[in-house]
Symmetry: C2
Subunit: 453 residues, 2 copies
């Protein structure tokens, strides 16, 4: 009987991260300095990031070696399993063969540790004493807290207030690893105080929390900032997911026709999909890549492709990306990790150029799909990952309608065991679907700067 799990040995783990910038058909649009409108260089990023990470951010090299210390820590949970979801297939009655790459085996419960560990490592090497960061759902904050603990770095986390209230267990995880956690917006930063002055009841947003954490880092000499998504070096660290998946499919002599992942800032999706995109370009493969997002924060499907700030306080460089406007505050749905107004610039470019497709889903259907998956496979998906599960349900239905035996790869970025209040709300009937009004989309146009495309 064939094994259900495709397991690599530690010696088969990829030893390099993949930098898709080197292989892009069209050059990426550069980030712009917010004051001058000129392309931002390494020096502009220096107040926030250590030089090793900045060099990775702007690197043109296709592969970058993973340091030994990072490899050793990766081995705590990597290589992650690729699992045939036979019972899920049966539950869906689909002829499709569904595999899921499961990043919930990380002790932080999600893929985020894949980049938190190298970010902590490079900062430690650079003599940094403290990391300031933001977190939405709490997945990123948990991962950074853990990584800082491994390298004996202090850690301050600005947690989006609505998530701070909904997910007390996430706070406890971060505190267990020694981090200090603030519900954002706070009165500890200028950007936080500004938001609170305008709206004392602000539920917070990733954009606001990013402003707070980056201001904290920029105003303290011993502190750097860590971002959990969007930037090139972050997506690059996550490519271990896709590279392992490629090796695992090779082991079993299969190859996915469709790759589905959820997309907030793009780190999970990029990490999973970019190695497959390279194979499409370089080896003539023809895998469809589907990014899924919530209908309440439909960046890729309804956002504007334009230059915009990465944060709410307009202090970051300008990025060419799909955006709902930097002042956008999404409804307090539970998939906190998907509540970002923008998206990774390179991933946005691939969507604009047609290399990646995107779909947005309402949350009731997302939780329904997640529970079918849970009952079949035992794993309760994180609300973010549940958006990918919903995408797979749709693809499986298509395969059924077409009578096709296609192979689907589901990127299951994390488990939902620390996000169970969302499932409770779903059971209690407290969740509703929410379509973002068109006026909200148009409102964003007014705040986008007349530069770029």
């Amino acid at each position: 009987m064939a094994d259900q799990k495709v397991i690599l040995s530690e010696s088969e783990m990829p030893k390099q991260w993949y930098n898709i910038v080197a292989d892009m058909p069209n050059p990426p649009s550069p980030p712009l300095h917010p004051g001058t409108g000129e392309p931002a260089g390494p020096d502009d990023l220096a107040p926030l990031f250590c030089m090793d990470l900045i060099l990775q951010e702007v690197s043109q090299d296709p592969y970058i070696d993973i340091p030994d210390v990072v490899m050793d820590l990766y081995k705590m949970w990597r290589p992650s399993p690729l699992i045939r979801a036979k019972r899920f297939e049966e539950a869906l009655g689909t002829p499709a063969r569904i595999y899921y790459k499961y990043e919930g085996v990380s002790p932080a419960g999600s893929h985020k540790l894949n980049t938190a560990v190298p970010q902590a490592y490079y900062n430690k090497q650079a003599g940094v004493k403290r990391i300031a960061t933001e977190t939405g759902a709490g997945q990123w904050g948990s991962a950074v807290s853990m990584a800082c603990s491994f390298f004996d770095l202090e850690c301050t986390v600005y947690m989006v207030k609505v998530s701070y209230r909904q997910k007390p267990y996430r706070r406890v995880v971060m505190e267990t690893f020694g981090a200090t956690v603030h519900p954002s917006p706070t009165d500890l930063t200028n950007s936080g105080r500004g938001i609170l002055a305008a709206d004392p009841e602000s539920p917070g947003s990733l954009g606001i929390a990013i402003s707070e954490a980056s201001e904290d880092a920029a105003t303290h000499d011993d502190t750097k900032y860590a971002l959990g998504s969007v930037l090139n070096h972050v997506l690059m660290h996550q490519t271990v997911i896709g590279e392992e998946s490629l090796k695992q499919f090779e082991l079993i002599g299969e190859y996915p026709d469709v790759v589905v992942g959820c997309c907030g800032g793009g780190s999970n999706f990029g990490g999973l999909a970019f190695p497959f995109l390279r194979e499409n370009w370089k080896k003539g493969k023809d895998t469809s890549l589907l990014a899924t997002e919530p209908a309440s924060c439909p960046t890729l499907t309804r956002g504007h492709y334009a230059y915009d700030f990465g944060d709410t306080a307009m202090t970051s460089p300008l990025f060419m990306m799909y955006t709902l406007g930097h002042s956008f505050v999404p409804a307090g749905i539970h998939a906190g990790g998907l509540r970002y107004h923008g998206d990774s610039p390179i991933l946005s470019q691939f969507v604009a150029e047609g290399y990646i497709e995107a779909e947005a889903y309402q949350q009731l259907g997302v939780f329904e799909a997640a529970e079918i998956f849970a009952k079949a496979e035992g794993i309760i998906p994180a609300p973010e990952s549940a958006h990918a599960v919903k995408g797979v349900v749709e693809e499986a239905q298509k395969a059924k309608d077409e009578g096709k035996e296609k192979t689907i790869l589901l990127g299951l970025s994390g488990h939902g065991l620390m996000d169970l209040s969302a499932y409770d709300d779903y059971h209690q009937g407290n969740l509703t679907d929410h379509e973002l009004p068109q006026a909200e989309i148009e409102r964003a146009l007014a705040e986008l700067l007349p530069v770029g495309a």
Copy 2:
């Protein structure tokens, strides 16, 4: 570089459970019928359990085949990894080599699924429609809910009230898999109503919840009862843990000098330790086996070795075991899975005969040890498992004092991601140590029956 994780392939999984009853140096003391005082036979158990499980309970065969369907479901998470805890060793500054066998990879987050799945399977085979069970910490209830969902069985869980309040996420997990969860004591059963009449504010106990669940099963034709520990067949299902560990140590050419596991009803400890005990007896090995428990519920270390009821309502057979008395209600500490008044009869016998050692620990030291482990290895242990971590800290210190390079196997039965309120209380200073007064121990003597040893 040697791999940090010792991984077996699915084809190397043990295909049989080990039944230590076949190898016991002295025959086990039989359970007694509560009415007659005569040994209880299969018929006495028939109202509660299906016949396949009863036959396993009384079996004298050393090995019992694991059904294919169960093997297939085991492969969702088994074989579980054996992991070298190098960073934990460094944190402790010990010359000991510490390995942990990690059962938290199960989708239920603990070892409990190892027996929940076969119990659900045999009940389904027997035409049972519904399972009634109890849960303390929620680990067992989560596992049964999941297993029932896999086999399309209804599931009713009586959850100890203090845990129901402390651990809402556990309830959500069970509900996600379709179970109905009641805080126990309830007014749905005679035993629950009796307890509530005497103490409307009763926090509940495992003994009470067992009475309720078994009454529910005994009074409904389509319903059977499932027990998560104590009984022989339950411990036997858990031996996959120890059998895999033996194979994993063989792969790396090592062998443990000490095996440490936490012990409530004994299923985790027995499942881990019994295969090693067999090797001690049959292959001249000399591994020490250490069962750890909370000082607030010190069954093995301070209980009476006598015949007692397994439940509070005095409806179960009488078991020869270490007991604090069937009416014992332990303090509401967080390690809910270790709050049982009794213990597995065969495991109790091995403690009485000197084959297994036991230690009790106060909870502050337990959480301190757990946080050292978490910061080193990334995994936040379940409060129950944390008692084993504390035992390993003590053993590692001994190794340091003696300058010995001994090998320690830690049974890490589950993660604590659904038990974080306990860690929060620990951080907030809300936990205190609690030594059970001697009067409480002596009180139990009065309710023990004058039969047996």
